[in-house]
């Protein structure tokens, strides 16, 4: 997973979303079609052309108070319109750590 934080050229090859961390608490958020942020991937605006991706990112970046470090992330569209994270990094961001956090009390 090369870190996407240094995204320069914007070229997407499949369905994508814009994601970031919410400013006040750092939570993972996704840009919605209503120009807001949601913690649910299902609420995200999905783009499929590089032009749309660029526009969505520009619009999200302008909201610097709402969220930090927006970038474009791949998603998979499943049957029935379900949205899934497109790679392991985004899976971990969406679902949390892959480790059992139980430290013995």
């Amino acid at each position: 997973m090369t870190s996407p934080l240094e995204q320069k050229k914007i070229r997407i090859t499949g369905p994508s979303v814009v994601t970031a961390n919410r400013t006040w608490d750092g939570a993972v958020v996704y840009r919605t079609a209503k120009q807001g942020w949601s913690t649910e991937l299902a609420d995200s605006a999905i783009v499929s052309t590089s032009d749309d991706a660029r526009a969505l990112l520009a619009e999200a970046t302008a909201d610097d108070v709402g969220a930090v470090g927006p970038y474009i992330a791949p998603v998979e569209l499943k049957d029935g319109g379900k949205v899934k994270p497109g790679n392991l990094r985004e899976h971990i961001r969406a679902k949390g750590v892959t480790i059992d956090l139980q430290v013995p009390a």
């Binding site: 997973m1 090369t2 870190s3 934080l5 961390n21 400013t23 006040w24 608490d25 750092g26 939570a27 993972v28 610097d64 108070v65 930090v68 470090g69 790679n87 392991l88 990094r89 971990i92 961001r93 949390g96 750590v97 892959t98 480790i99 059992d100 956090l101 139980q102 430290v103 013995p104 009390a105």
Partner: protein, 551 residues
């Protein structure tokens, strides 16, 4: 323990209120993230995959029970009930909300804890041997010098704006537990022929993309001159330091490019040319810092108390004692390492309950003092031997008596892709799987000292280059792969490991490590020959052959 003076306390409190104001302005939109980033980094606040991460300094690895309880409070009140002890005598909280950070900082400031010098291009917290002041045969307590350097570099603004971050580590013992050879400056306290105390000065160590082992530039600098000598090193570094290229601006690159002789010569010339810049330490100044370290009022105790003789029949106790209990400079006392590497657990994590309980045990059995080492374990530095059996029972109940210190399951691992936004691959689940594979402590004992270090990317936070076995996460076509090196070490004979073969996918890492360990067991010439020594004697080839023959 160390008592902070008023100046420090004022400084810490000022930083908290300053940061509170900055956070307020950030949340109202008055500050952009670009403007705010440098400010949050100065206060130990990073942004990770899921949340902000908050890094708190534990200077030279010494904590009071009161401070540890406060860390537990922060974990419970502002985070998800646990913290992660790192390789640089810090603790990190992974889930802190920016809006609550000023409160967390304020709570910590009350007990003299802060996050200064934990991030950014400045002088980072000066680390030291976690057994400082209690290890037998130590020249003197290296923390006095860590503290002198800390004070000097915290208060001088020129150290806050270096070309890159800058790390110093100090040891005063024969065996280097502070990994000084992988720091920008490593200092080894020793006595010269005249019996004077001073430092061997090493420079240019560091891991990351271009790893280097530090080299000696001066065999002896007397204690009173150490600040001026460090100043001379920094001046030479600042003159050349290549601020234009982030990967090259570390001192290790400069030392490598100039050559150690030329670098040493330039430092010496600078040092002479500087003349007296008011940095010579007089006796009073040194004694003033020394006087603020207090040592327990040890009792006169027998070397072998009855309690210990009786407990020797308990096999579990004996195994733990042999593994986790070390000699103390005072007769009748021991240093006890608390393993934060339970089988199947994330290395270095401690729950708030564990932290509170350890604080209580420290009050009861260790004069209220706890130590944090770079191997991501804790220690109780002053335990009377007669208390070892009861302490063992208490630690065992807390899951802190895994008898695996320095063994194959005492793994150093960075947070990796489970937390870190820079990661290529996961580290923690690899470590967890390995601890399950080697869960049998008798087998681990048989294998002997073996350090496995894991990093999730080339930044090398998990010190993979200097692991006896090093594991580095890389990415291949969107999949997690791992490069494996063997033969590295971080002690006084520090050395970088050698790649053993092509990178392997996530699912195969534990198998390959098992094969490497089996190859070692077959090839070592006697049970006492450590893994690293076998690799040194035979080279990588015989192990590579056995491991990759069937792959």
């Amino acid at each position: 323990m160390y008592a902070y003076d008023e100046l420090d306390r004022t400084l810490i409190n000022e930083r908290v209120s300053e940061f509170r104001d900055q956070v307020k302005r950030r949340l109202s939109g008055e500050l952009t993230e670009d403007e705010f980033k440098i400010l949050r980094l100065q206060n130990g606040v990073y942004l990770q995959l899921h949340a902000y991460m908050f890094r708190v300094a534990i200077p030279y690895g010494t904590l009071s029970s009161k401070q540890l309880r406060r860390l537990a409070h922060v974990a419970r009140r502002y985070d998800r009930g646990y913290g992660h002890f790192t390789t640089r005598q810090n603790i990190q909280f992974n889930w802190i909300k920016l809006a609550e950070l000023p409160d967390a900082l304020a709570d910590l400031a009350e007990v003299g804890i802060h996050a200064m010098q934990t991030s950014g291009n400045n002088m980072r917290n000066v680390t030291s041997d976690q057994w400082a002041g209690v290890a037998p045969g130590e020249i003197e307590d290296p923390r006095i010098w860590s503290e002198i350097i800390r004070q000097h570099t915290t208060l001088h603004p020129e150290f806050s704006f270096l070309p890159r971050k800058f790390k110093i580590a100090i040891t005063a013992a024969e065996h280097d537990r502070a990994a000084i050879k992988i720091h920008d400056i490593g200092l080894r306290l020793h006595k010269n022929a005249d019996g004077e105390t001073g430092f061997e000065v090493l420079v240019g160590g560091g891991l990351g993309r271009t790893p280097f082992i530090a080299k000696t530039i001066k065999p002896f600098v007397s204690g009173r001159d150490i600040l001026s000598y460090i100043e001379a090193i920094l001046r030479v570094y600042n003159q050349y330091g290549r601020r234009d290229n982030i990967y090259k601006a570390r001192i290790k690159i400069l030392v490598h490019e100039l050559g150690i002789e030329k670098f040493a010569k330039e430092v010496d010339e600078e040092w002479k040319a500087m003349g007296d810049v008011g940095l010579t330490l007089d006796h009073t100044a040194i004694e003033e810092v020394r006087s603020r370290f207090s040592y327990p009022a040890y009792e006169k105790l027998p070397h072998m108390p009855d309690e210990l003789k009786q407990a020797a029949h308990d096999k579990l106790f004996e195994r733990w004692r042999k593994n986790s209990v070390s000699a103390h400079k005072v007769q009748g006392y021991s240093i006890v390492t608390l393993s934060l590497k339970p089988v199947g657990g994330p290395p270095g994590d401690a729950s708030a309950e564990q932290m509170d309980a350890v604080a209580d045990l420290a009050d009861k059995y260790s004069f209220g003092e706890i130590r944090v080492g770079h191997e991501q374990n804790l220690a109780l530095p002053h335990v009377a031997k007669r208390d070892l059996p009861v302490l063992f029972k208490a630690l065992d109940r807390l899951g802190l008596a895994t008898p695996n210190v320095n063994l194959v399951t005492d793994i150093i691992a960075c947070p990796g892709l489970d937390y870190c936004s820079l990661a290529n691959a996961r580290s923690i689940p690899i470590a967890q799987e390995l601890t399950r594979r080697f869960a049998n402590h008798d087998t681990a004992d048989l294998i002997g000292r073996l350090h496995i270090n894991i990093s999730g990317c080339i930044n090398a936070c998990g010190h993979h280059h200097v692991g006896h076995i090093g594991i580095l996460g890389v990415e291949k076509n969107g999949e997690e792969f791992y490069q494996i090196t063997i033969g590295g070490r971080a002690d006084e004979n520090a050395q970088l490991g050698t790649l053993i073969g092509p990178a392997v996918p996530y699912a195969e890492v534990a198998d390959v490590i098992e094969d490497i360990v089996e190859a070692y067991l077959a090839l070592r010439d006697r049970p006492e020959e450590l893994f690293v020594d076998t690799v040194k004697r035979l080279g990588v080839e015989p192990i590579r052959e056995r491991v990759y023959a069937t792959r």
